[in-house]
């Protein structure tokens, strides 16, 4: 059947899209970027008991080497330009997880100084609600993101836009 018959068992054929997406999916490098309470839970997820590394996630301290930003906490108006700049510094393809109620929608803090949801300034792929979400919830969010990445393509796509 097909080309494998001629080449033997040592060769697997697949579409390039699938191979690349598979590679991207298992080597997500999030930027070390913490804002508030959820950042502590994010650190916990990376530490001994929950262990991010088994999903291929390794924190990178520079946004220029990372392809995921976990917005962990409330974004204030003073901080918003910095979040945007960090997002802009990341190379394509890049993904965003809004972790916690505050990053999803403003949550508890419907006040003058907090941006009501980080999706007002950068496009978000996965929302993880909770105040703060448990590490398990974050891992579930990561798994969902991996599913999304797995369906991706290497064709040039227009970068995601903010839906207003």
């Amino acid at each position: 059947m097909g080309i494998e018959e001629h080449l033997g068992d040592n060769i697997i054929t697949a579409s390039l899209d699938k191979i690349v997406s598979w590679g991207r999916k298992w080597s997500i490098w999030p930027a070390t970027f913490g804002l508030a309470c959820c950042a502590i839970e994010m650190m916990t997820t990376a530490s001994s008991r929950y262990d991010f590394d088994r999903l291929g996630l390794i924190f990178r301290s520079s946004p220029r080497q990372s392809d995921l930003i976990i917005v962990s906490g409330r974004v204030s108006y003073k901080m918003a330009p910095m979040v945007k700049r960090i997002y802009d510094q990341m190379p394509n393809p890049k993904w965003v997880i809004a972790m916690g109620d505050c990053a999803c929608s403003g949550g508890l803090f419907n006040v003058y100084s907090i941006v009501q949801g980080v999706d007002r300034i950068i496009p978000v792929d996965v929302y993880v609600p909770g105040c703060p979400p448990r590490p398990e919830a974050l891992i579930y969010g990561i798994v969902k993101l991996q599913e999304k990445i797995g369906k991706g393509t290497i064709k040039h796509e227009a970068p995601p836009q903010i839906i207003r």
Binding site: F33, C37, M43, R49, R74, S76, K78, V111, S113
Partner: protein, 399 residues
Amino acid sequence: MFEYKDFLIETDKFALNVGPSHPATHGVLRVLVKLDGETVVHAEPMIGYLHTSMEKLAEHRTYHQAETITDRMDYVSGASNNLGYILAAERLCGVKASKRAEYVRVILAEFTRISSHLVWLATHAVDLGALTEFLYCFRERELVLDIIETVTGQRMTPSFFRVGGLAMDFHKDFVNKTKDFIKIFPEKINEYEALLTKNKIWLERTKNIGVISAEDAINFALTGPSLRGSGVKYDVRKASPYSRYEDFDFEIPIGEIGDVYDRYLVRIEEMRQSLKIISQAIDNIPEGEYSSYHEYPAYVIPPKKKALTTMEGMIFLFKYGMEGIKPPKGEAYVSIENPRGELGFYLVSDGSAFPYRMRVRPPSFCNISALNKMTAGYMVADLIAIMGSVDILLGEVDR
């Protein structure tokens, strides 16, 4: 002939911006540093990147709703913040909590102190290049969080205390889990110390770095381990005991010269002392009611059992939920010993169900204001060590 100065590299002044997103600033602190070569001339912390306007928001919440804001403030030591706020609200109402509740409060507050110091040790050590410490500390922190979760149902933001006591009685597993933890934890502290305390690299990075004298520390209103590291024996738990801290026997560790290493030793010893308090409290939790409902029915939530069996209990529970408590007009200030220092709550009541003004006396806010004093003259790499040793938490600095 050459002179010594000919061999020196000529340096120039330049500005360096650290943060607000930097792996070693513990959140969103931004520090503007003026350098001469590699020496810090001036370091100015710029804060407000996490400003959440909690003091304003509390004016629009009832007294018990406002409690949920306080544990998002200092988010590594939630129960400790709740305790300070609830004590201030209790003083406003003139309510005294039941003895059983106060013991549980003390245990939870001390557990948050341990978990907060573990987070501090983990991140501080990572900043200085000791990754193993991070994995060790978070291993035990999970055990602490499990115990807090057993009682309160939440890992980091419990909001479990109520005016006059607790939200409910604690779970039966609490005592056993705590006793297990008391058994294993002293060994673990030795494990942390084995990695760092006599480590040559650690000593080089921390000894005689970031020295602040006792006089300066008081003048800058430093509190907590940052002040005790400089040799001032000031701890709110001893100076003005609250919530039955006078029942327990514990020491206040102090440092000698106030460098990064002293502050490290003080916090390590504090974990041992916290454990000592917990082990005394867990053995002596008195029997009885978990809230002082009988003494102060006007301000304290009735037990759920009462609401389901008696008519007036149910009416009161409904009123309590819909309207909240209404303390008399007045003002009250209570300060407690947070893991970071003296955390004070100043509540102003105008007789309505909402606090007229909630002022938080933030320990980290004062502690970080002395950063320039601590860093001037040291190398830029020491800046990270000093920032870590002060143990700030931006949620509380910016509120």
